[in-house]
Symmetry: C3
Subunit: 406 residues, 3 copies
Amino acid sequence: MLDDGKLTKLQALCDAAVPGHALPREFYSDPDVYEADIRDYWNHHWIWVGHVSQVAEPGAFFLFDYGPESIIVVRDREGRLGAFLNVCRHRGSRVCVARSGTARVFSCPYHAWTFELDGRLRRATHMDEDFAPEEHGLFKVHLRVFEGLIFVSTGDEPPELDEGLAGMRDAVAPYRLDRLKIAHEASYPVPANWKLAIENYMECYHCAPAHHDYSRSHSLKDPDSITPELRAAMEAEVEAAGLLPAKFGRDSLAAPVGMDFWLNRYPLYPGYTTGSKDGALLAPLLGNLKAPVAAATDMQIGILNNFLIYSDHVVGYRFVPRGVQQTDIEMVWLVREDAEEGRDYDVGALTWLWHVTTLDDERIIRVNQEGVNSHHFVPGPLSSMEWGIRTFYAGYLDRLRAAATS
Amino acid sequence: MLDDGKLTKLQALCDAAVPGHALPREFYSDPDVYEADIRDYWNHHWIWVGHVSQVAEPGAFFLFDYGPESIIVVRDREGRLGAFLNVCRHRGSRVCVARSGTARVFSCPYHAWTFELDGRLRRATHMDEDFAPEEHGLFKVHLRVFEGLIFVSTGDEPPELDEGLAGMRDAVAPYRLDRLKIAHEASYPVPANWKLAIENYMECYHCAPAHHDYSRSHSLKDPDSITPELRAAMEAEVEAAGLLPAKFGRDSLAAPVGMDFWLNRYPLYPGYTTGSKDGALLAPLLGNLKAPVAAATDMQIGILNNFLIYSDHVVGYRFVPRGVQQTDIEMVWLVREDAEEGRDYDVGALTWLWHVTTLDDERIIRVNQEGVNSHHFVPGPLSSMEWGIRTFYAGYLDRLRAAATS
Amino acid sequence: MLDDGKLTKLQALCDAAVPGHALPREFYSDPDVYEADIRDYWNHHWIWVGHVSQVAEPGAFFLFDYGPESIIVVRDREGRLGAFLNVCRHRGSRVCVARSGTARVFSCPYHAWTFELDGRLRRATHMDEDFAPEEHGLFKVHLRVFEGLIFVSTGDEPPELDEGLAGMRDAVAPYRLDRLKIAHEASYPVPANWKLAIENYMECYHCAPAHHDYSRSHSLKDPDSITPELRAAMEAEVEAAGLLPAKFGRDSLAAPVGMDFWLNRYPLYPGYTTGSKDGALLAPLLGNLKAPVAAATDMQIGILNNFLIYSDHVVGYRFVPRGVQQTDIEMVWLVREDAEEGRDYDVGALTWLWHVTTLDDERIIRVNQEGVNSHHFVPGPLSSMEWGIRTFYAGYLDRLRAAATS
């Protein structure tokens, strides 16, 4: 329910954004923009919510929450995966309050409206005669599984996904991402708008100044440091490992259907085989890899979802809005499904790099927000290393404009 | 000071409400609706603020706060009860900061403007010559006492009350509610809009699923469980106790002047004489009762105020707004004025049922708000057991519409 | 970026203010008014941020924050004092996160854009070829030093200051305010709008009722208590001390160029030489004073900044907005630069009076806000002792109106 004043404001704000520059402060501080962000952007796009290993058995479910939304991901009795709004069709209560578990039905804690695992309303007492239970099942939301990674979208017409995923599949298939398990999850709350958090992930311009540990091992921090020799060594390893010899990088996207999909493999510096403190592997080689590759592979799926693939583990990233200036940086570390904690990997060592790196990010995102809040802030020009943010802004503004005029 | 945009929004929201269905999310999340709720609804209706036993002596006073408002209830030197806005007529300070006590005057802590117990301004120094003290007394608000229960309204023209109360008087007179004392008060904060809290009280559709202890003893949880035998037994007890043999219930309101007044007596299940854990009485029989009645009597006065009357004690309920999504469920347990704690009643036993029941409610009201916050929430149809909410919505929307167009 | 609805609202609010009366509640509760307060009022006026002793050496800097703004005050390598917005010209991060210290450059913690101490951009990597570093220095803000006190304004055209200061200089020169040091700083958070806090400082109508310790020694609490004898005694001391014998007071402003400047000396009651508990001096006589004067001198510079000058110390006051209803009362106690703690002064004794007085103020400002929040609050008439507030309101409303129509 948008009054005209708000629509006019949103459109004026979109028009005030200067291409190639940061966004004006209102995008990071105005409650009406935040409402639009959730309603028109997050509730349209694909969101990575988890991994199939979390819902392996019939009845297994977990929740994923963002902003004011809550999604139930559940495997029904026939083994089909589904996703539903966690909102009762009666008076709107959450129907599921457990974060995860195994269920036979979802029975609303308020008035016991009871839903099947496929969302259908099984029982609602004391309703009028003309009440149609078949019209009051849980709202089903779009769901896709890509290599074991589960994505949902609550929008009516979510962005194209399948074609993009198809273009990436061969490149990541050898990692067998479907045969992973979650080794650790962590959440880093940061008092900033979610866009400042995701922008931070979208560029490595800040890596050298802000991330000393990351920059010691990861060449993305300085494109000029990737010498032909370093790249050649990596590509030899790629071949030895049994990975596709595809050239990755900015000009050779695996799936060039837009910035919704991005796959980029870059070398680690000599002495590093993975994102570890000492350079040594942290866990068993993934999937069908025949040998380790001293590289990191960035994979972006659907704007909001980022993954970093090493030879021995994967880290997934989400920047989950909780309020206008409150965001959770959520991270998930995944290892091979048969790896055993203590024997095959150590959680402290596994998570060390991205724990310290994210603590750095929490700090710089926070002071970014503090400065952006100034009434005197004038958005400045972006550097060449921030091309990912330019693309994000363009799509973001398009989406807000489209929603405001629809 | 309402700009046109807000008025338009409020009216559009009222129009968007579908009769017989829950209200749209904005009614529970929009700060402008919350402002209207206080300004146009709470500041119009009658609010139960306390009991005459709290202001027995001349000079005795207590405060009652809701939203941004604060009311002083005080007995003046001549023994007359009055209620005043706790706002200095100078620059707006609260004039009384003690929650209760005995006063000779109210002297503003800021600049010592001093008010008599009947609200008149006694002294204000350094004012211009044309200053008229008689025009700057504390704003007096409407006050009514019904059977010892004190109600106030800060509105210019509060809803009709006297006729409704007159219709209920005989039915409750034998309980001698004026001869009670407060045995215990408690406040249960819930992170939800006040309407979700009061709606929760207005229906027993949720009792069976959510309140196991209550449902063990109180037949309201299932109208079909009230057999003719159960009702006949209750009515025999009613007669033996010396209570009016009036038939109560939905179709036989004691005071059928609208949903502002409601009186309904329903049986307790066999084995229960009052709302206790073991069914036994918790305190001396109230007033003129000659024998206990295994029943609970719901009494609603003026929409916002609810009471549950047992043979031996009374529980009063308020759902006090503190913010858009912050409400205090306030409860007051009252017993006969001459009952003595330790000898005649035990506070833990007395408060047990409604303590555990309210903890349940706190939880379900909270998850109700969480779900309602979803942008995808579509208000669903109400059940037949939620007729009280339908009536509440109708009156609520009428009032908001009337205020928005005045 | 103000939509028409907000402009209309602000203008209607300004029109609703009745001269000689308190302001309507929205001025203390509406988030849009708070935005305007920072953007149009605080970001226009002069703000006292510190003392030259804090930035004595080249490279020395400190931050001053208010609302969402942050200012760097720094002495560059050539010894020139400057002030800059603490907002990176790239994507808006704070460039300086240390509260104070010594710097060679300011290097943004995010992407290492590096700024000279005079604000010029020294280095920004990976920028496009057409990037002009000379156009991306830190925004410089206006700065003035008066007798060692540092003032800044972030506005385009700040109010006239120099003429006003010139008119005050002779009167305060003997105190040698430039030769002070900070003995103590303290911050008293109060849950109220900043205007309620500064209004509290602008009148002594509340001193007698609310400040018993202050009122025991300071005659400002009651103009009628300043007998001719008391004034004559003070003036004799003024002459003996070597201070200008100028008559101060409401009708004899030292710098009558408007309420932006105010200087008023009033006697302490017999037995008190300074603002101490026992009346005795608390620290060495300031500057060129030849003898103590049993007086307090109020000095107001540029509306927002207040100082109280005793013979032996100075207290500076700021009422710093942090949110719509969150303000920090910040106080700074200054003594002669060569005074040594422990030998020449005791911090507990030095700060006693204004610590207890400010605790009183915190309480009454808080209950003032609570009362003003009432929808029923009607702004009342001001007393003759509140003339300072009348002048403040007039200028405040003028400024908001001017900004809303520009």
